[in-house]
Symmetry: C3
Subunit: 360 residues, 3 copies
């Protein structure tokens, strides 16, 4: 099993006492406050939204109306919000990012077509933001090729400003590096531009805009670019291979373009070997913590680690990719989240960078 789009949606984690509709009704007022980050228009900075969340750590102010309530009622109301979020997981939203893109094969060349344009993107139920997307997805479509493949990729720019694609991690000839005014002209609105190269070094890489990039990558012009090695090491061969793209820009704290409870669980059977490929496309570190099982770190930026090492919390900085192996030997539903807690939970419950590893 090789790509994220093959992972099936499991049933909600606990007994279904509340539907998504209930979740929205019960938490409508408070969710608007607590998920302001996700809800914010693109005119608001992440810095402002983070400050908002960090301020909001008083345990006694979650009442949705101004009438005074008892501490016991407040505690009960808080628990109901937390429960509703977890029961809604995995919540349905419109759109799915990081879907495997099959190439057309033309005279032995793998040909990919991407179109960059503005779309509306639902990060969590009812939270819709402006996104700048490749092929209407955030992250953009996942590209998987093999060392030595010949690749031709055409980008059509339907945005209102210029753009370009940098293949982050690939050791390409200079003129395919995707940096406007250094290695190519910018791709102007309405134009198309074609990259073509023989795939060099294997590993977990990325493609993203390298023009006005703080804006363009923050808004969604990014995707996974995976290069499978000709001769994989035994340690990297896995039953389940999952790409997890972290972001923290204008769309809030997201995994593969979605915020909890709309994040996708990672699912494996007991005894399976899971490979996770972390990629940070944001502007903050995210120390990813897995409950219940440890991770063995096997690669950094696509390069094998000479001495794999174990951890349960892996710090992932912007631009980094880390590949880890999890031996899924502990059955259950395990929280899996960024351990900067204001990226993962407010007094209204979990949000943002939270998902679960489900070992069946």
């Amino acid at each position: 099993m090789n790509a994220n789009d093959k992972v099936k949606m499991p049933h909600a984690l606990l007994s279904q006492k509340g539907s998504r509709r209930d979740f929205l009704r019960n938490t409508a007022v408070t969710a608007l406050a607590s998920t302001a980050l996700a809800a914010c228009s693109i005119d608001e900075s992440a810095a402002q939204s983070v400050a908002h969340h960090e301020e909001d750590h008083s345990g006694g102010t979650m009442a949705p109306n101004p009438a005074p309530i008892s501490p016991a009622a407040a505690a009960e109301a808080m628990d109901k919000m937390h429960e509703a979020g977890i029961k809604a997981f995995p919540a349905k939203t419109a759109g799915k990012g990081n879907q495997l893109l099959k190439p057309r094969i033309v005279n032995g060349v793998k040909v990919y077509d991407l179109t960059a344009k503005k779309i509306r993107w639902e990060t969590a139920p009812g939270q819709t933001v402006e996104a700048w997307a490749y092929n209407d997805q955030v992250p953009g479509p996942q590209i998987r090729v093999r060392e030595g493949d010949r690749v031709r990729l055409t980008l059509k720019n339907e945005l209102t400003e210029s753009t370009a694609i940098h293949f982050h991690g690939l050791e390409l000839p200079n003129d395919q590096d995707g940096v406007p005014f250094i290695t190519q002209p910018p791709i102007k609105p309405g134009q198309s531009y074609t990259y073509e190269f023989t795939v060099p070094n294997a590993g977990s890489h990325m493609s993203h805009s390298h023009h006005n990039a703080a804006t363009q990558v923050g808004l969604g012009l990014l995707g996974a670019f995976i290069v499978e090695p000709k001769n994989p090491l035994p340690i990297e061969q896995a039953d389940v291979d999952y790409v997890l793209v972290l972001n923290d820009g204008a769309h809030g704290y997201t995994f593969n373009g979605k915020s909890f409870p709309a994040t996708e669980p990672v699912v494996a059977k007991k005894g399976q070997k899971l490979r996770l490929r972390f990629m940070n496309e944001g502007m903050m570190i995210h120390p990813m913590h897995l409950h219940g099982m440890h991770m063995t770190v096997i690669a950094k930026d696509g390069w094998d680690q000479p001495a794999p090492w174990k951890c349960d919390t892996l710090n992932i900085a912007p631009g980094e990719r880390w590949d880890v192996i999890v031996n899924c030997n502990n059955p259950g539903t395990w929280a899996f989240h960024c351990h900067i807690l204001p990226h993962a939970e407010s007094d209204h419950g979990m949000f943002g960078m939270v998902t679960a590893l489900i070992v069946k």
Copy 2:
């Protein structure tokens, strides 16, 4: 020597020209400004307080009264504040966190009782904050067990909101993982809840709240959970074993719940082998810098590093634990601090994440 509570308080570092009372009198006005972070009520966010500190980097505004003073007098006044802070170290405060908790043994089971409740906590002389604490301590009591031990731990919730304990790093059965609505119901105010398990993987782990955790952990519901291995490696056997919990939430920048000059020095004799166990319970990175001697990194999150490596500055991200060995061969009093300088010093002197390693 095995636990932090066995480390004796040394004498003040330099000749005692100023008592703690002098320190407070001399610096009262300015300390209020410079340690606003520590002094802030829990309604203020860490983000705001950090901004406050970072703004405060003009070298010419430390005058405690509005009358103009000469540059020379200003420089002298600054030095006096710096000196007073260092002479006060280690300053006495009420309360000590991270104290070793001895279990009751019941039919071969190690039994621990924790109570979570709100207390007042003195982080530095005269700086008292609201804390949510296990057994009236921040960090909560240190638990030390051995691989294979049977442990029973009961948490009584005397807070006004629900809570739960997650054993961060322990590979427990799913129903002992401590995540409300996923692995257990929340422990409501007034309720008690009992965890019981056989201790799995060795290492430097933590226990902390996993409910409304950005608030609850930030306010103090956390503690070290150390699991000694059945068969320790030679490299990890040390003369002095010291746990250092970092935090940066509502209580300011702290080591084991205290801010400089109330932090505790680490003390070793020349020739001794010191094991430091760093644990980050905050929401920021803290690159810990030791003067005078290097650190050999032997474990990450409780897992042996396959190839131990050396450094003098170790970056510790939220949720991470790092174990290092220091061969204490360089006698003296050595500064030991976070190297994000605004976490350690203002123009009023050192504060926050500063302590010393004293090699006698």
Copy 3:
């Protein structure tokens, strides 16, 4: 080739359609907004400036005058600003930091003289800030000695407040450690102070103020202190040896005291082996990303890594030093920048922590 001051300035990267004068004229108004960080007086905090940049991610507001312009014209104007910045690189500015300081030899002792004083410092064309500098340079002069050398260093303090030098990474006798009130008295305005020691451990180290350090280091009192080993390992012997000091304080986001387009390119010939010595003197992490070639990490804080490992994005925390090797086998001009994108690019083009590796 051993020191940064031997790297020659290459020609501007692309054909010279615009001079630096054109760059300044074309972008004068907008550059004032976009490089507010570099332009800010020292009364403004980095935190504020970062927030300013992060807010500024709307793609449609780069018009230099209030008259409405079409999206196409706006896109064209944005591209012109991006192009102008790159064409100006490497832009001339007054002053060059990190210049190799030759010692006087007195009875076999290497003698260095440093003077700390306030200067004006140009970080980018037209952006001049107050700096506190050693010998009129930011970073201060680079000191290169060998293991076992005897060194005598005198610091004259011409600032208006006290100071002291800490040799960050050197395992010196305690009384040479440079921490006022712990290991020495502060060096008062007008005073001189002499350090003298036999150089201990090899590696990429630093010297910087350890008094009111959040302010003094942020303003420029810092420099590289390189100790060459008596017996270098084969892996660390390189054709080009380049020191890159990162900072993010009152002077904005800088490499060796300059912001793009005034940063210095790293230049090597095809086939050469390049050693980069990263040093973070700031208060934020900076994950440094090199295009086109990977880096092999050989040392941390001056200590050999037991198992060198490869990456293209290396996260560098405050106080850390990392040494890497780049085999310069891919010809071209390669972007080389911090991958926290708001440290490297705004909608007005690249700025701050950007340079290039030019492989000829």
